[in-house]
């Protein structure tokens, strides 16, 4: 008996040794590296603290370490310049997932761990302002600006960042949801860029058919009605065009109207008449981009910021891809950088924010990042650059901001584009137009506490 137990124990001990042996050597290796690393960085941060260095933290979706992306390269160049001008100051970008950045920022403000500079998406800015999380730019640098300088940046973004006479942010990475089109296909069909909804539909119908080169069944207009599509669809343009606003005075949705019904009927028509494929009902922006790059669409509804990436990935001659303003005007979208009101380095953070809006920085954003300019003066100073065919889209984006579909920041508009897409999905899967719009209104109002 005793012997048997012993032998079991012995075998067990050996087995345990082999089991844990392998695992622990693995562990020792990686933990050593991680430990060394963390102690290093801890030491480093202590050192910087003792030598009086200041760190400005910024949360954005851009990773300055990314050398493939023009906007990231532009940002890292600005950081370098700023650090060179301000000895002892370090800009630390902590790249974030843009889906959760704002929720994280709002949580962090309550415990004092928020970054000095935050980028908010358009739909979230109102809530962030409600939380008093941003410092008015007038307290930082805007008070020193001349009227001319202010006029230089004054556009729909600048106005959206204003509340009670103070500006909290000015807009970065400006986006304009407009119409991508393939100029070669339009030319071949002898058509011009559509400017009304009727023209858009007839042009799209005319451009539908089999693509001779690849054999793909091509549709005139790519739309994406998925509730994961970040870009507002044409229903927004249509309702705005016909009734002037998507919302009532009190911020409730105003969609189950004559204009809303017409808009929905127009969208149904694009699908029924074969200008837009049936599968658009649950296509997301990302799918439609892949499909556009494959040649499935002659025109596509999408934010202009994607242009450099799309040209790079297209499977056809990408120089023919151009950008236009939609009927009803483009939806403006983009990012709004501000300084956290609880930051202990507001002055410096403000200086870096100002730096990102400077004329020099604007040139970087434009030339490296392929972005719409932040300043009107940039458009003038670089007129030759914007006149080039491959850069025209940036000017068109910029132009679209002068009569973009406006939004108020007095009330939150969370998820309005998703709720409207859900209404479209409901109609395209057999629902009644009016009741679908009513449902969407109710969903929007309840989600925004109205």
């Amino acid at each position: 008996m005793k012997r048997r137990t012993l032998s079991i124990l012995l075998a067990g001990a050996l087995a345990a040794g082999s089991l844990t042996g392998c695992g622990s050597s693995d562990n020792a290796d990686s933990s050593a590296t991680a430990d060394a690393k963390t102690s290093d960085s801890a030491a480093a941060s202590q050192k910087t603290a003792s030598s009086g260095e200041t760190t400005i933290r910024m949360w954005t979706f851009l990773d300055p370490a990314n050398t493939e992306n023009g906007r990231s390269v532009a940002l890292s160049q600005m950081m370098e310049e700023f650090e060179a001008d301000h000895p002892g100051v370090k800009i630390v970008v902590e790249p974030q997932d843009y889906n959760i950045m704002t929720a994280k920022f709002l949580s962090a403000t309550s415990t004092g761990d928020a970054p000095d500079i935050i980028w908010c998406a358009r739909d979230e800015l109102c809530g962030v302002l409600n939380a008093n999380a941003l410092e008015p730019l007038e307290n930082l640098f805007l008070a020193d600006w001349t009227a001319e300088e202010i006029a230089d940046v004054d556009d729909v973004f600048f106005q959206f960042g204003q509340r009670d006479g103070k500006h909290y942010t000015m807009g970065l990475s400006k986006n304009s949801v407009g119409l991508y089109y393939r100029s070669d296909l339009l030319e071949a069909a002898g058509l011009s860029v559509p400017t009304t909804f009727d023209e858009l539909l007839s042009t799209a119908k005319a451009l539908s058919g089999e693509d001779k080169e690849s054999g793909i069944q091509r549709y005139g207009l790519g739309q994406a009605f998925s509730t994961e599509s970040a870009d507002p669809q044409l229903i927004v343009n249509y309702i705005y065009d016909k009734q002037g606003s998507l919302f009532n005075e009190d911020g409730t949705a105003n969609w189950s109207t004559q204009a809303g019904v017409e808009a929905m009927e127009w969208i149904v028509k694009t699908v029924e008449e074969g200008a837009t494929p049936k599968e658009a009902v649950n296509t997301a922006n990302e799918d439609s981009i892949l499909e556009f790059e494959a040649g499935k669409y002659a025109m596509l509804l999408l934010g202009g910021v994607r242009m450099p990436n799309i040209r790079e990935a297209a499977s056809f001659d990408s120089s023919a891809i151009q950008f236009a303003i939609l009927p009803g005007g483009n939806n403006f979208d983009g990012w709004f950088a501000g300084v956290w009101s609880g930051s202990s380095n507001k002055e410096l953070a403000g200086e870096f924010l100002e730096k990102m809006y400077s004329p020099e920085a604007d040139q970087l954003w434009v030339t490296l990042g392929g972005q719409a300019p932040l300043r009107k003066s940039t458009l003038e100073n670089m007129a030759d650059f914007f006149a080039k065919e491959e850069n025209q889209y940036m000017k068109i984006m910029s132009d679209s901001f002068t009569n973009a579909i406006p939004l108020s920041n007095e009330y939150t508009v969370n998820g309005f584009k998703f709720d409207m897409n859900r209404a479209i999905q409901s109609v395209l899967t057999g629902g009644q137009i009016e009741s679908s719009l009513k449902e969407a209104e109710a969903a929007f109002n309840s989600a925004n506490g109205r």
Binding site: I8, D63, A103, K104, S107, G215, E293, S315
Partner: protein
């Protein structure tokens, strides 16, 4: 006679191979698609009709992924996972031993408490923001140990349960015999039982490993420091604001599978062949 025994055998072999092939195709087709996408140039990725073989091999996406510090993230993830396995399996084992071999006050209550904890094992987004606030208040977010603690926590309830099942399979008489032989309780817990429940330990380790290796949302909320990034954060980098960058995305995901194959080759052996001789039941 010979024909009579061989023919069905060959037939059954053929059908087994057939099942294996179907199984392999269904299981691996997205992986196959991901791997060939990672080897295509940008314009081949978006080409119509989709290119299955007639594309030019291109390693640029891998180069880009590797040069963006991917291996640091792999190392971080390996460290988080292995540390979570150790912390989780050790504390889980002790708890499992307590639950299966001892009777103490509030035992049932404590066990139901663990049951309530299980939904959190994979649905960590459910408590995310409260947890973030809590971790920030304690100053425990954005450290090298942050994710280890959380991954251990999220997987601990199921780990305990898996290990309880293992310990229960060990006959109590074995422990009694060991005590009669003069072994200490310490010896029983640390030396006698663990080798006998190796398959359960391997199953629990695998569970914690996958839970830690494939976790994204918690890490993206809890971690700010780029040097602490884990592998899923590195993969999600290619799903960012610039859209789905298919080439690097699939390249990163392909690279992320490789360590798992090694882990499985090691743990899987413990898992499946660990109890072959019937040493315990016999």
């Amino acid at each position: 006679m010979k024909n009579g025994t061989y023919l069905p055998k060959i037939k059954s072999h053929l059908s087994e191979v057939f099942i294996l092939i179907i199984f392999a195709i269904v299981n691996l087709i997205p992986i196959f698609w991901g791997v060939i996408t990672s080897l295509k140039t940008q314009s081949d990725i978006t080409a119509y009709p989709p290119k299955i073989w007639n594309f030019e091999l291109y390693f640029g996406h891998y180069k880009r992924v590797i040069s963006s510090g991917f291996f640091q993230c792999v190392l971080n993830s390996a460290f988080y996972s292995v540390a979570a396995i150790f912390l989780g399996v050790i504390t889980g084992y002790l708890a499992a031993y307590g639950f299966s071999r001892r009777n103490f006050p509030f035992k049932k209550l404590c066990f139901y408490f663990i049951v309530v904890g299980i939904p959190l094992s994979s649905g960590s987004s459910v408590l995310l923001i409260p947890n973030y606030l809590h971790m920030m208040k304690m100053g425990l977010h954005n450290h090298w140990y942050t994710l280890i603690l959380l991954y251990t926590t999220y997987n601990l309830p199921m780990t305990i349960w898996l290990l309880i099942a293992g310990i229960r399979a060990v006959p109590q008489e074995l422990e009694e015999a060991a005590i009669m032989d003069g072994c200490s309780q310490f010896y029983i817990v640390t030396r006698l039982i663990p080798p006998l429940i190796k398959p359960s330990i391997a199953a629990a380790s695998l569970f914690v490993f996958i839970g830690s290796w494939n976790e994204y949302i918690t890490s993206s909320v809890m971690i700010n420091d780029t040097s602490l990034k884990n592998i899923q954060m590195a993969i999600y980098d290619y799903l960012g604001f610039f859209g789905q960058e298919w080439g690097p995305l699939t390249a990163a995901a392909t690279l992320a599978i490789i360590p798992i194959v090694f882990v499985f080759t090691f743990l899987g052996k413990q898992l499946v062949s660990g109890l072959t001789a019937g040493a315990v039941k016999g």
